[in-house]
Amino acid sequence: MRKFKTAAITATMVGALTLAACSGGSSSDGSGSAEPDTAGGDAPNELTFMFRGSDYDKAAYQTAIDKFEEETGAEVTMIITDADQYATKLQAAIAGNKVPDVFYIEPGKMMGYVYAGVLADLTDYVGQDVIDNIWDFGTDAYRFNTETGERGNSADALYGLPKDVGPFGFGYNTVLFEKLGLEAPSADEPMTFDEFVALCKELTQDDELDYQTWGTGLNVVWNSQAFVWGAGADWISEDQKTVTVDTPEFAEALQWFADLGLVEGVTPSVEQAQSLDTYQRWMAGEIGFFPVAPWDIATYNSVAEENPDTFGYDVIPYPVANEGDDWSTWLGSLGIAVSENSKNKELAAQLATYLSTDLDAQKTLAEGKVQIPNLIDYATGEWIETDAPAAGWPANTKAFLEIAESKGKPLPGVWTYTPEWYDNFWIGIENVVDNGSQTAADFVASKQTEMQQLLDQSWISADQAKVTG
């Protein structure tokens, strides 16, 4: 027993001592596996490409890379990781000085990576003709002025090319509308908030069909942006330096969003949404309006095919506060960047350009319903006319292109050095939208100062990173 005790003491002391050095960074499933060598290629024609994604991504890129290798004589090693582990693995690779030649980069983390000298400036490597044929947002998201810290200006240096642009569209259940004898919303003109609520009320039924239905069921963290913007409010000023949540229009828009469930009763309750979340209920045909994004299309199509009596869908503009207001929604993106320390920077830049704009790869990804094409001429021509309908994209797919072209904005927090100030907004939001124990006006007033402090801190950190690298 004494020996056992000694062993226990030793084990616990070592455990306690190593805690600080080991905490954090664990994978979400606790699994471990042999790590691939992420370092950039040594030989003049060797490149490494680290990315995450689906089988479609891999297949599309494999074809593009095979072609690239054939054309340039390059040898590309692909390193694919799980989506949830990619960011930490990339950070570890950078810390370990084993940066791949070409890799995915989130636009939100770009500033830190540029200041740390990790990302190569691609401005001189990518032709203007190539840039002109990519959605503005797709390149602006990877432009950065290292002096002012400003993002999104087309005159600034380019540190990445888009793997994709992801329009977060809005849709409705065509079958449910038909069943309830409702007129389908316009594919081109946005509804006003009042029209939207009126339709939602008509869609919320428990005795019309043999199952209960609701107007909508929107997650506040991912779905409220379009409505806040549609009311003319925002989380942050255009120069990204001032938090703007404590305004009457913001509070009004947030309260309106909360009241969809609390007052109007047109969404499933918190408990109902928990038992079967609104995404599942939407696919079960129980919800009238729900977000539709390119990465959902394949799933929605198979659901519509299996259950044509309950589910069908199309894309429409997001509602706005008043008639004539401009609608908008958020537009995501994932970038392809090149390591500043790559031994084959020019070749790596060529590969990044290839992966972002190769027509065959774009066709494969769009056909697989992974993303809309990055290439404007293809997307607005052959794709929207023939390829998209043939591949089963929704009837009003042009709404996605409209978002990519002009209606899309980055999520708040993506264009600041860190998103902590924006994340802070969601702490306690359930008191407004779930249980109504706090009004939206009180909530935003209580958040303004703290969020501003965190945003100021973000700018201070950015300035420090600019100096120290």
Partner: protein, 318 residues
């Protein structure tokens, strides 16, 4: 008269050269042995330096820098520690982490009761032992997802079971009051098998003669438990308390899966979850390291206190 003893004869047969050669051989042997000894010792020492001393030193230095985890470090002294003291989210996360420790005594009490039950000759003993151990070898991620469903406020298994006895269960993971207890219940359930197994081994190792002697003296079952079983399993209890506190202070996976935004009103965010967020989402590796070090030191202090208390209560039957 010159006489020679045997020794002198033997010695005389050893020339100075022989003695020198023998010394040389002996020295060579010693050197070789010392070399091997050094080599054997080097492995753990190098391991200790590379995997403990260096990371610890690096962590301490990193905690005093402004570092985003990818760029250069700037030494800022104790600024991160000053910030930490003023950071309400650090204290909230620390409080949440401490609150999770409530599960430790509850889990140990249930484990000991189970171990006592399973040490008796009951039908299906092996089956029960296996059943209780299954959660230990199951994936934590899978368990977290299962419990997420079980805690569903509407149709979850937990509330359905409660409704059988007339209790209207809360919306566990969406209610700031119940979110932490919900995670504690899951953690207790998950760790039960391991603690029970150790207790079972300890209970079965208690000499039967002690119980027989106690029976002869007319001791009741409760007396036998408090005066024999409990003291005899104390080293295991101590081991479990210390290791559970260390493991509990690092709780992360279940929180990240079941309440990925830190729970309603940040009620489930643990310190390691906050550290991870600051390090990898907010690019504040220096600050995150400072928090991790403070957590490590707190755990060390608690562990030392436990050792002291345990030493005071130590006993031997020798």
């Amino acid at each position: 008269m010159a006489t020679t003893t045997d020794t002198e004869q033997v010695t005389s047969t050893w020339t100075k050269a022989d003695q020198k050669a023998a010394r040389k051989r002996s020295a060579a042997l010693h050197r070789k042995e010392h070399g091997w000894a050094a080599a054997f010792m080097a492995a753990p020492v190098i391991g200790w330096v590379a995997f403990l001393l260096f990371p610890m030193g690096f962590s301490i230095y990193a905690s005093m820098t402004n570092w985003n985890g990818i760029g250069n470090m700037t030494f800022i002294g104790l600024d991160n520690y000053t910030r930490l003291v003023q950071d309400p989210y650090f204290w909230k996360a620390l409080w949440n982490t401490v609150f999770y420790m409530i599960g430790i005594p509850i889990g140990l009490a249930i484990s000991l009761a189970l171990a006592l039950a399973l040490s008796r000759k009951i039908r299906g003993r092996t089956f029960f032992r296996t059943v209780y151990y299954i959660p230990v070898i199951s994936s934590l991620a899978a368990i977290a997802i299962l419990w997420q469903w079980a805690y569903n406020g509407d149709f979850g298994l937990v509330n359905q079971a409660l409704s059988l006895v007339g209790i209207d269960g809360p919306n566990w993971l969406q209610d700031p009051t119940f979110a932490k207890p919900a995670l504690i219940i899951m953690a207790v359930w998950k760790g039960l098998g391991y603690s029970t197994l150790l207790y079972l081994a300890a209970v079965q190792a208690v000499p039967r003669s002690l119980y027989e002697a106690a029976s002869l003296d007319g001791a009741s079952g409760w007396k036998k438990f408090t005066k024999i079983t409990w003291p005899m399993v104390q080293p295991v209890t101590f081991f479990l308390v210390v290791t559970n506190i260390i493991a509990g202070s690092m709780i992360f996976t279940e929180i990240n899966i079941m309440t990925p935004t830190g729970g309603p009103s940040w009620s489930t965010a643990s310190l390691v979850w906050y550290v991870w967020n600051q390090a990898f989402r907010n690019l504040q590796m220096g600050y995150a390291t400072a928090m991790a070090l403070v957590l490590g030191i707190l755990v060390l202090i608690v562990t030392v206190i436990q050792f002291r208390i345990n030493r005071a209560n130590d006993f031997s039957i020798d």
